[in-house]
Symmetry: C2
Subunit: 431 residues, 2 copies
């Protein structure tokens, strides 16, 4: 092929692709979280990347949405999935008769958004979801399960987090009690940014919506209520006696009891937690990294998963780990501990076969051993091991082969010892 | 939402989607193989699902191929990847300066083919590849590494397989020696189906291509050579002395030595192994299930991975596990051993919180415990546990709570015992 036919290799902008050392860390992060899901009796689901557009865009009545990758193939109008929830709804609606309820499933997979690429915004990225779907009804135990699951995920990766919990019925009930349901969306939008704006500005914005001074103040007061469940209950009950509001409070108390049984003891009940999605109808929760207060996931209760596909009521509660943000936060810390290779085997021309044999035995013991067969000289092999920050080298010369003892060199301290294979395995496994 | 607006939930035909109990098995199969890749010092790569069409279709000069999902988004002409090799080439060409060579990477991911759906043909399916890419040159040790890796994958899942190995230079050299290089593709096509057609038919088809009787006979004879390396070498050398042919034979011998060092001892050298792909240029191999002789993977050496992207020569050798076919073969055997739940906790209304607490402690010990909180009565809970084939039930009534001993019931034998938590953990972990 002549030079002028060469194609410049490019990755599509905004699409997820890590270098191998980062990918190792990301994969191990996913594995740890998946392990937690499985231990908590959630089963895996792996739906197709492509769905029929009418199903995927049911919410918007099937209208084209600029935010999705949509195209035709033959007679089919197809979309790349933009989340994992709509495919779950499609799956549950299709297979209702074959599933065990409550259906506890997790899915970790890529989703796609056709938006303009910009910093911090991916067009292809991972979502990491676990949901519990009920058939007809679903106990509030499920809400506690999802909150507990989220906590366990972060325990598994040793990250200190705070979980904040509320119930959407509390704010909705309050708004109902002041007869402003028609402004519900606008009021929640103001309250949702309370942590970013001043109280005076929040009051002004609520007032602009036509709320009287007392209601504005009480709404702000309500959204500032935060603490342990026994600390906040009385403060809540003073503010409002609306039925929906009181249902929200008692659901919150019930969930808190289940959480206590699950062993949680430091969750915070915080009325400022709203969660953007319109479909949350009860419990809502969000998780924050303790050191930087970065939101790393959350979830909540929704009334009906399958409303676009079925007349049957399928209530659910779900949680999601913000896996790309979590990875960005933790990659430096985690990348340090990962090694592509535990020990590099350094052979001479005449000991290549012996080196391969030792390599194979070490791998059988679970040690990541590799022979640097591409480097030609001893010097270039050692240099390569140094450049790649490999911690140990195992030198196999003819003397070593004859004695069945090999030279293990610690590349940081420079210390080296002649050891038999058993002793080498023992030393490397203790690392 | 009114009924007439409901959308019928459908999955796109030919797209991969398993039921949860099957998906559990498939996930654990992938995890086992991934573990083998990592232990053999291959690093993970996870390239985007979408690539620029010019890069992905470089082979065909960027022409539309009906076999791919291709579409435009804004100014971009995009394709869903149809394999994992072209994305690897694109990645290596982009990041050559940052990678360690030989670059040993694995990727397990979905690929897409726009063909008409039919039985046994997926339009979305998994590929499971591992490749070693050299910078300029690459030792034959890499070929042995890939064959060894394939063997290890099947060891990890306890499946008895036969690996058959050849070298494309042997057949190519023979064809060169009889001056029929212009018919190379046609000759290989006949030989590739030798196991399906009669020898007379193969001879007739070769003769139709214009080969004389002796050459036809020798070609068939050559492709029938099979056995241990020391058994076949002499038979090969008698047939032809062409330089390319002899290079092939000596490469085969060299690879066999490395394989011996890696501990392989039952691989078969079989000259009928050709592998469809045009780009294999040296070592080729294929793996077959011993019981049914079903091909479950293979691979080979190729001259230059990045020829469409770069002037630099990047030789490589790779292997691929036929993961969907493997899953179809093994799912019945494997599904039997998998359980969504190890133990179902059966509580009464007044012991729900205690049940959740016991559940949490069991899960902390790695036991998949679940509380059947959706079923209302004791009877319906036990019925549900039976229906789902859950092996153990743990009954937690008020007496049990008071005594801190719970009733563990073996659902198959009917045997039941009152045990404390420690004894329960011990018993369930020994299962």
């Amino acid at each position: 092929m002549s030079d002028n036919k060469l194609i410049t290799p490019r990755k599509v902008q905004g699409f997820w692709e890590l270098m191998p050392n980062e990918q190792m860390v990301f994969s191990s992060l996913l594995n740890k979280i998946e392990d937690v899901f499985q231990k908590n009796c959630f089963v895996p689901l792996d739906t197709p990347i492509l769905e029929y557009s009418d199903a995927l865009l049911a919410k918007s009545g099937g209208e084209t949405d600029k935010q999705v990758f949509r195209f035709s193939k033959g007679e089919n109008d197809l979309c790349m999935r933009y989340d994992l929830t709509v495919p779950l709804a499609r799956f549950v609606a299709m297979h209702k008769g074959e599933l065990n309820f409550p259906f506890k499933r997790y899915q970790i997979g890529k989703v796609f958004r056709g938006e303009r690429p910009q910093k911090g915004r991916y067009r292809e990225f991972y979502q990491c979801d676990a949901d519990i779907i009920g058939n007809g009804e679903l106990s509030l135990v499920a809400d506690a399960e999802c909150i507990n699951l989220l906590k366990k995920c972060f325990e598994a990766i040793d990250l200190d987090v705070t979980i904040k919990i509320s119930n959407r019925k509390i704010l909705s009930g309050f708004i109902q009690s002041i007869n402003k349901e028609s402004l519900s969306h606008e009021i929640l939008t103001v309250l949702d940014k309370m942590d970013k704006i001043k109280i005076e500005d929040a009051l002004a914005q609520l007032s602009e919506l036509g709320l009287n001074e007392k209601d504005c103040k009480n709404l702000v007061k309500l959204s500032k209520i935060s603490g342990k469940i026994e600390e906040i209950t009385e403060n809540l009950k003073i503010l409002c006696q609306n039925e929906l509001f009181m249902t929200g409070v008692s659901e919150l108390i019930e969930v808190s009891k289940y959480l206590k049984s699950f062993g949680l003891n430091n969750e915070v009940y915080d009325m400022s937690i709203i969660r953007g999605h319109d479909y949350y109808t009860g419990t809502v929760f969000e998780v924050f990294d303790k050191e930087n207060s970065i939101a790393l996931g959350g979830g909540g209760r929704f009334d009906n998963l399958c409303s676009y596909f079925s007349k049957d009521k399928m209530p659910g509660v779900g949680m999601s780990v913000g896996i790309t943000r979590l990875f960005d936060l933790m990659k430096d810390k985690l990348t340090k501990g990962e090694h592509e290779i535990d020990v590099a085997i350094i052979n001479f021309d005449e000991t290549l076969n012996e080196a391969l044999s030792v390599c194979s035995e070490l791998r059988n013991q679970g040690i990541k051993a590799d022979v640097l067969y591409e480097n030609k000289t001893f010097k270039s092999k050692m240099k390569e091991a140094n450049r790649r920050n490999i911690k140990y080298c195992l030198i196999i010369g003819e003397d070593e082969v004859a004695q069945k003892e090999y030279t293990l060199k610690d590349m940081q301290s420079g210390e080296q010892n002649k050891l038999n294979l058993q002793a080498i395995v023992k030393k490397l496994k203790n690392e």
